[in-house]
Amino acid sequence: MLGMGGSMRSITLEAAPRSAALARRQLAPLAKAARVDLDAVLLAVSEAITNAVIHGYRGEASGVVEIHAQADSGGLTITVTDSGVGMSPNPETPGIGLGVPLMIRFADRVTFDAVTDGGTRVTMRFDAPPR
């Protein structure tokens, strides 16, 4: 599901591993238009979705991941929200615990919030270089 309005994009994807690639495809044009570091955006968003699928939903495609991206004159803000069980460790993961450190490293600012009805919201800001 895709909603567009100017430089905003909202995407709702199944909480499944393949959704990370789908989100990368859909957000790339907006990141390019916002003049932010495309590789950094794709990596950080993909890590956030991976966390939602692996940690939030424990690999069960029983929910959705909501992605909202808003471009402005200074860059791009992206939120990734799930309704899972939170960011508790999951030993059944192909990763090596680098997802959160990579989000922090490649976004200019990151916040992690517990959603009131369960789940996690990750908000990432990517600054565009000065013109």
Binding site: P17, R24, I54, P94, G95, G97
Partner: protein, 119 residues
């Protein structure tokens, strides 16, 4: 749906050389690790794994590479990665310190020569 990544294997001067292309993430990292292990189950020495045609790789991909290298090491084999200089993957390897844990070079020929020299 078209696979995100492709894996090919060839023999160069008797050294197995695998080439990955496409994207490596949470959706295919575990499967790719199994395929690499399967393709290289027989034979000793090592494997040159060429990542220069990989367009995208994240922490799931790094985990896959680390686990492949660890499994190789357990069997007395060596994994040599080939990564394009100044690429995002090279930057990712450096940022995470993986370039100090894994054997990473920029040339497939050098990787093959080094592995051939150790047989």
């Amino acid at each position: 749906m078209k696979p995100l990544a492709d894996l090919t294997l060839e023999s160069v001067e008797g050294v197995p050389v695998a080439a990955l292309s496409g994207e490596i993430d949470v959706s295919n990292a575990t499967e790719l690790r199994a395929r690499i292990s399967e393709l290289t189950a027989e034979g000793g020495g090592g494997l040159a794994l060429d990542l220069t045609a990989v367009d995208y790789l994240d922490s799931s991909g790094l985990g896959m590479l680390l686990r492949v290298a660890s499994a190789f090491s357990d069997h007395g084999k060596e994994l040599r990665l080939v990564v394009e200089k100044d690429s995002f993957i090279a930057s990712l390897m450096e940022t995470t310190g993986m370039d100090g844990i894994l054997s990473v070079g920029e040339s497939r020929d050098e990787a093959v020569a080094e592995l051939a020299g150790k047989r």
